[in-house]
Symmetry: C2
Subunit: 334 residues, 2 copies
């Protein structure tokens, strides 16, 4: 796969440098650590800090979601690898306004370890209270009874959105964590992979797949899915993804949901809207109300091909959170 890069060793540094240069009114690097980015805007004293993070290569996840109404800071990892505890701790210190900090990230072993270490250091060394909410929305990644083992994929976006709003509303740390956990509990995603990305350092494809195959349930780093087979029509793929989600979470006629059809990187918006079209048909037939829709590249895997469907079941509190305006470099909602 051809790439517009310079030395692959400095790819993350150069991306971050470009990002900060492009959006100086939104985001800045901390002098202590160039993988520690925080909002350039003033944050209110007493507001719970919202910290997100994870590996690079998922842009707009995660650094694209720092800004008004979402996260206050982000710790940036190498490609598909957790950030180390240092930038997490530096961001924590910078965004704590006396009300503690919530860590939001996907349920991956490396992230759990590094964010966990940073949380301990924040507590012991800095006396900053840290709460944590993991994203584990990927239905395909573990059985229903073991949701705590599931990976976080595109549903992370909804969890950031909900928690960012809750923090903005003036909720205390416990309540921001509660909202983030509820958002995760209410969120399910199912994805399909069509084509791999290649890792800049090695040129290796992230997974193997035949020229006429698709893989249902494929993970964001090429983790194996649950079924490989011949590529099907957009409608059949959408049917399958929504079916698996609705078999996993009770969403009934009259319920409201937020919908995200997320592209993995190289899938055109045209195809995402064709998938959305079918998702909307299915939900309408079931009497499920779509409260708000998002279609586009929200959490990617470099130039991977494919998409995922995410549903978040809403209650009044989550509706209000999902409606809350956002102003981030890579995502703005009025």
């Amino acid at each position: 796969m051809k790439k517009l890069i310079n030395d692959p060793r400095y790819i993350v540094e150069e991306m971050v440098e470009g990002y900060v240069k492009a959006h100086p009114n939104h985001i800045k690097q901390l002098p202590e650590n160039d993988r520690a980015l925080v909002t350039a805007r003033e944050t209110r004293e007493g507001k719970v800090g919202v910290l997100i993070g994870g590996g690079s290569g998922h842009e707009p996840g995660f650094m694209g979601y720092v800004g008004d109404g979402m996260a206050d800071g982000v710790a940036v990892g190498n490609i598909f690898a957790s950030p180390s505890p240092d930038p997490i701790l530096e961001v924590t210190k910078a965004i704590d306004k006396g009300a503690g900090v919530v860590y939001l990230y996907g349920n991956y072993a490396g992230d759990v370890m590094n964010f966990g270490m940073a949380a301990e250091m924040a507590d012991l060394e800095e006396d900053i209270q840290v709460g944590t909410a993991l994203a584990s929305d990927d239905v395909a990644s573990a059985p229903k009874e073991e949701k705590e083992k599931r990976r976080g994929i595109a549903g992370e976006f909804f969890i950031y959105k909900a928690a960012g709003a809750a923090a903005d509303f003036g909720y205390n740390l416990d309540d921001v964590v509660r909202v983030a956990k509820k958002a995760n509990e209410n969120t399910r995603s199912m994805g399909v992979g069509l084509s791999p990305c290649s890792l800049p350092q090695t040129g290796e494809p992230s997974f193997e797949i035949g020229d006429d195959e698709m893989e249902i349930g494929l993970g964001h780093h090429g983790e194996p899915g649950i079924e490989k087979g011949p590529i099907e029509s957009a409608d059949k793929v959408a049917d399958r993804l929504v079916h698996d989600i609705l078999a996993d979470i009770e969403i009934n006629s009259g319920d409201k949901v937020a919908v995200l059809v997320n592209g993995l990187g190289s899938t055109p918006r045209m195809e995402l809207y064709i998938v959305y079209r079918r998702v909307e048909q299915i939900l309408r037939e079931k009497g499920i109300e779509i409260y708000r829709s998002y279609v586009g590249d929200y959490i990617t895997s470099l130039e991977m091909g494919g998409c995922s469907v995410t549903l978040m079941k809403l209650d009044e509190e989550l509706e209000r959170a999902i409606d809350h305006p956002v102003d981030c470099p890579m995502f703005v909602q009025k």
Copy 2:
């Protein structure tokens, strides 16, 4: 190239259906023509109508830019093909608020013919005054002396932005056209293609290129560029693109520009920000002030690989226009 589609014959209809379903508060189809989309919001009487359009496959261009602060309506063509005069005329009738309508589109023979016919019909049959401003920002597509022969590429985004703002400011038709033409006069783009897209109906690649090659100046539909050669580093590519732009338009130390680094479809944001990093370095060294930056997929070519750099030289009027808030389904600016 694998695609998440149903029947390729209905790909545009299904995309549009999904799009309208996803954003019912923003956009609606006209009952007269399902390729004619207009804003779902109330438009002020006396405001100049802004009409954009072109072939499909360039999403977010063009239908993604209908909304507050940009276009009032869009005519949707087949993939990489101009819309016919009918939807253009229907949109014209729907968005005319007594002050006339401006047509904004890229300088392609099919578009010039069809929008021209629609403008004539609007004038003769409907007594609606139509103004036109073509985008011809692609430096590579014709010599400097023949700018009127040049194609429109990613710079179209700036032209929509400027004209949409001018119409919102309450300018009359002549002045909206003047601002759109000035935006085009002040805008230059240069692109690089790395990998083709494939057309859904035929599966044919949009252009041929070797595994380790890039093509400078490639057009948005695979039109030949000006130089094919081995792929270079992001910095060298950025140097080349910016060099060619600055050789074509006088932008001096102290001048202000808006910058767009536009992805063609499958190029990750990471790479676009690495290109932006170098663009920013070059402009800073020359004393050119970056007033506002846009980095992402703004006008694509399905899953084509590569990017373009666009600079728009600003004066006070264009600064104000570029700052004007926008609320469209695929682009929001606070």
